[in-house]
């Protein structure tokens, strides 16, 4: 999986979860998880209000 989640930055607001076109993200209470359905489109990276997400190698 090449979506990198920076748990130190994440404010577990769920903005990325609601924006994900594949519904691949899940807030496990306050821990963000991504599953294998992720297509690495980068929507969540742009959505994240606080730059907690990035695609590896980008």
């Amino acid at each position: 999986m090449s979506l990198e989640i920076n748990h130190d930055r994440c404010m577990h607001c769920g903005a990325c979860v609601g924006s994900c076109p594949e519904n691949s993200l899940f807030l496990r209470e306050f821990v963000l998880e991504v599953d294998e359905s992720c297509v690495e489109c980068g929507t969540c990276v742009k959505t994240c209000p606080i730059n907690a997400l990035k695609l590896r190698g980008v």
Binding site: C13, G14, G18, T43, K46, P49
Partner: protein
């Protein structure tokens, strides 16, 4: 007692999400139906942390049968002020009459109060409990897979209400609608700032390219304290700056703000989309942010969601009483909420689509043209009408909506 791994729990109505809208739908269902109604909420504390700027109109509270409001109201305001990039200002409100036109809430207290009102009607709550999938049989929703404290179990229900907010996973797991388009998503960041200099009797909105496709808001919490936040449209971001970067830049550039201290940080997303084609299917209804009824111009979702929740609860009770939770029966919900909200949602969606095309110069023209007008009502229609009188050219493309 917490459920064990593999348990099967049963209830008549299961509400997923203990936000104000889920609690209110559960409350109105419980008022009209005597069976088992349960709310599950992922968080350990209802209403916290707050994901909201807390600004509301107040007209709808009576209709929702909420009598005591003082304890969750932080500050009443007399009106709103809109600012263009060039510094023109437009005041909206019934200044002279001295009536309040809105208020800023304490959302954590409000959300808990909505749960208290539901609890009083007999609704059960289960906290720290997540729905992790929807259970369907032949296209009919039968309940959810859930997890609490590490144990996974099943909750079966005759009817499920998805009130899971912007995350809106219930509706997508059940294939009711697609994911949102980037232009219909606002990503937001907010500080509660103290020791800032501003007029605390108004809400303030700063328009233009400082907040691409959105706006910056200042909602007063007291004399020198306010929620200072920004929402930007996802499709207007190029990836080089996050919404927080835009907000920080605005604060840095304004002396009356940059001396202040942040005492709270809030992030979040809101939908600014057209109303979905459908929000029900056999055994399932969606409500509130999960039903995407946020006002596309303001990004406010509380009032619309609360009105929709009352209808959802009433129809849910009827469906359970009459033993029919089919999509066909649940059309009564679709009809009633659309009658109340849909026209305005569409109109404001179209207005949003136009407004995001305005450049800074046009915002200056519009606000300047309006600044000597008396606009008493904080509504898109009132603003457009006033623009039309002063600036027929600019308003032409909006005309079909009015």
């Amino acid at each position: 007692m917490d459920p064990d791994e593999g348990d099967i729990l049963e209830c008549d109505l299961l509400v997923v999400g203990g936000g104000p809208i889920g609690s209110t739908a559960a409350r109105f269902a419980a008022k009209n139906y005597s069976g088992k109604i349960m709310v599950i909420e992922k968080r350990q504390e209802i209403g916290s942390p707050v994901r909201c700027a807390e600004g509301i109109s107040t007209g709808w509270l009576d209709e929702l049968e909420i009598e005591k409001t003082e304890h969750f109201m932080s500050k009443k305001v007399l009106g709103a002020k809109l600012y263009s990039p060039g510094g023109h200002e437009l005041k909206i409100g019934k200044e002279l009459a001295g009536d309040e036109v809105g208020a800023v809430m304490e959302r954590d207290i409000f959300d808990k109060e909505m749960a208290v009102l539901a609890g009083r009607e007999g609704v059960d709550y289960m906290l720290k409990t997540s729905a992790i999938n929807v259970i369907e049989e032949e296209g009919r929703v039968k309940g959810v897979k859930a997890r609490k404290m590490g144990d996974e179990f099943t909750i079966e229900a005759d009817l499920v209400i998805g009130a899971d907010g912007f995350e809106s996973q219930i509706g997508r797991w059940a294939d009711i609608y697609d994911s949102l388009a980037p232009k219909d998503i606002m990503t937001c960041f907010q500080y509660r700032m103290t020791d800032i200099d501003f007029d605390p009797d108004h809400t303030h909105f700063f328009l233009g390219s400082a907040a691409p496709g959105g706006y910056l808001w200042i909602f007063p919490k007291g004399e020198k304290t306010a929620n200072v936040g920004m929402g930007v449209q996802l499709s207007q971001l190029d990836g080089s700056m996050s919404v927080r970067d835009y907000l920080d830049r605005f604060i840095e550039e304004n002396e009356w703000l940059n001396q202040g201290q942040a005492i709270d940080m809030v992030a979040g997303g809101v939908s600014v989309s057209p109303p979905p084609e459908k929000v029900v299917k056999d055994g399932l209804m969606l409500v509130g942010d999960a039903a995407r009824v946020v006002d596309p111009i303001t990004g406010g979702g509380i009032a619309n969601g609360m009105k929709q929740a009352k209808i959802a609860g009433e129809v849910a009770a009827r469906a359970l009483n009459e033993n029919d939770t089919s999509e066909e029966f649940l059309q009564k919900y679709e009809e009633r909420w659309r009658e109340k909200l849909e026209d305005k949602l569409w109109r404001n969606y179209m207005a949003k689509e136009k407004a995001v095309q305005l450049d800074d110069e046009q915002f200056d023209q519009v606000i300047d043209a309006l600044s000597d007008q008396k606009i008493e009502e904080m509504s898109t229609e009132a603003i457009l009408l006033a623009v039309g009188e002063k600036y027929p050219g600019l308003i032409e493309s909006f005309q079909d909506m009015m």
